[in-house]
Amino acid sequence: MSTALQPVDFPPAARRSAFFAGALGLTVIVALGLWRPAHSFRSYLVAFLAWLALPLGCLALTMLHHLTGGRWGMALRHIWHASVNTLPLLALLFVPLLVGMGYLYPWAQPEVVADDEVLRTKQLYLNVPFFVVRAGFYFACWLVLAYFLNRWARRSPSTADGEEPRCFRLLSGPGLALMGLTVTFAAIDWAMSLEPHWFSSIYGVMFANGQLLAALAFAVLLTLMRGPRLDPDVQRDLGNLLMAFTMLWAYLAFAQLLLIWSGNLPEEIPWYLRRLDHGWQWVALSLLLLQFVVPFMLLLSRAVKRDPRKLATVAALILAMRFVDMWWTVAPAFPSESPLWRCLDLAAVVGIGGIWLGVFLGALRTTPPDLVVEELPHA
């Protein structure tokens, strides 16, 4: 069973085409930015947040797995590590957003703040220098965590005599707590404050869960596509985990909807009014159906979880819907534009995604084989 020892691998051509597509997408966005900078930054923000979900989700999953253990994680761990390795790239890709803050965030526009009493009271938190400092802090936390986890993993892969080095768990506990806080506040800073009057205290949890779901779907998809054949039990567990995270997604989304819908308060409900009108309602409906109903029903079936191809299809669907969800969550915050302009959001997704995938595939190649082999579940 030599397949069992093969790491997930892609031909170099895949990397090249990813970089090419990325360059193309970024060119479109930059060209657009010269003409309509506001829109360009908006598309860029959506795409950035959507792709950021993968490395951050993978980072959290890695630490979660260090704490809980379980064979399901062994199969995915090297993908997580490779994905986490792309965090420096994302820190770099964040810089354009600092440039575009004035176009994106109403609270960063002095003339808007001057006219708005609520925003003036919020200036204590929502102001440009503090925003930059916080963003720096978030990335610093993530990069440090990523650095240590990867370094230890390379240096001391888990050995056959059982226990992993204790340092993993010592880091992962506080690390996860730190992740929870930084992801929450990053979500508040980067996405929620686009509509600075609105607030929802569940937002950070939803964001973090979305990242976990995206990362899990991504890792499952790659493993099933290119990796070794999985142990049926592990594969079933992965299917169940995907189902659990989709259910969690639906749960959180519904909880927020229900509470805001019942409250019907003027400072809360506009968020949904914007997202359930002007065509966005169809996006919302597709989220309900394709992010929850369809994957949930499919994952209930044991046959789907047993068949790698079917499970991979479901994972791909979930992953795709994660991007749609991020689009639906973030993009309606901006003043309404014609649907044609919205299509250009795709260019940013391809642009950032191409570059990210290229770097990720490179990282995947350099993931030390002993890490892969030793962590592999029995096939």
Binding site: F254, L258, W261, S262, N264
Partner: protein, 177 residues
């Protein structure tokens, strides 16, 4: 015609022995065979050639029934039977109906799981012929039993007893009705 006895009972000491014995029994062509164990043994399903249970399907149906019923109940009450304007919310206020729909789904599905399991197993059945063998009390402790029922077409008191003895059990008994 009703056979004289219920069947033959053989006792084994370990799950491995029992599974092997059951395999040989089904391979020998016996069909009305059962195994009684102190805990579930997955391998017996395949050894006894059991069909996969229909329970998940029934539970799914129960869940769908419960969910649809629960939602309709609320819709009927709030929009048809007694349409009242509560705080300007629509009569068909679907977000508010989801929690109960979920609960009824789970409730009916759970009832289905339990009662279908009991019904398919024919429980409660406080009297069963195997209990007539005193040693069978060990089936709920640490011993593993194989039953060949007398209604099996291949069953013959002498030959079946011999067959069971060949499996090297701890002991073999006749099970009276």
């Amino acid at each position: 015609m009703r056979p004289r006895i219920h069947g033959m009972l053989a006792e084994f000491g370990t799950p491995t022995d029992l599974v092997a014995a059951v395999r040989r029994t089904t391979e020998a062509g016996y069909r009305r065979v059962d195994a009684c164990t102190p805990f579930p043994i997955e391998e017996l399903e395949e050894a006894l050639r059991l069909q996969p249970t229909r329970l998940p399907l029934l539970v799914l149906l129960g869940g769908i029934l419960g969910g649809a019923g629960g939602y309709f109940m609320q819709y009927y009450a709030a929009a048809i039977a007694y349409p009242l304007n509560i705080g300007g919310r629509p009569l068909h206020s679907w977000p508010a109906f989801i929690p109960i729909t979920f609960e009824t789904t789970v409730l009916v599905a759970a009832f289905t799981a339990v009662f279908a399991m009991l019904a398919l197993n024919g429980l409660p059945m406080p009297y069963h012929p195997v209990f007539n063998v005193p040693r069978f009390a060990m089936a709920s402790r640490d011993q593993f039993f194989l039953v060949i029922e007398a209604t099996d077409p291949q069953f013959d008191e002498e030959r079946t007893r011999q067959f069971l003895l060949d499996l090297q059990p701890h002991d073999v008994w006749e099970v009276p009705h």
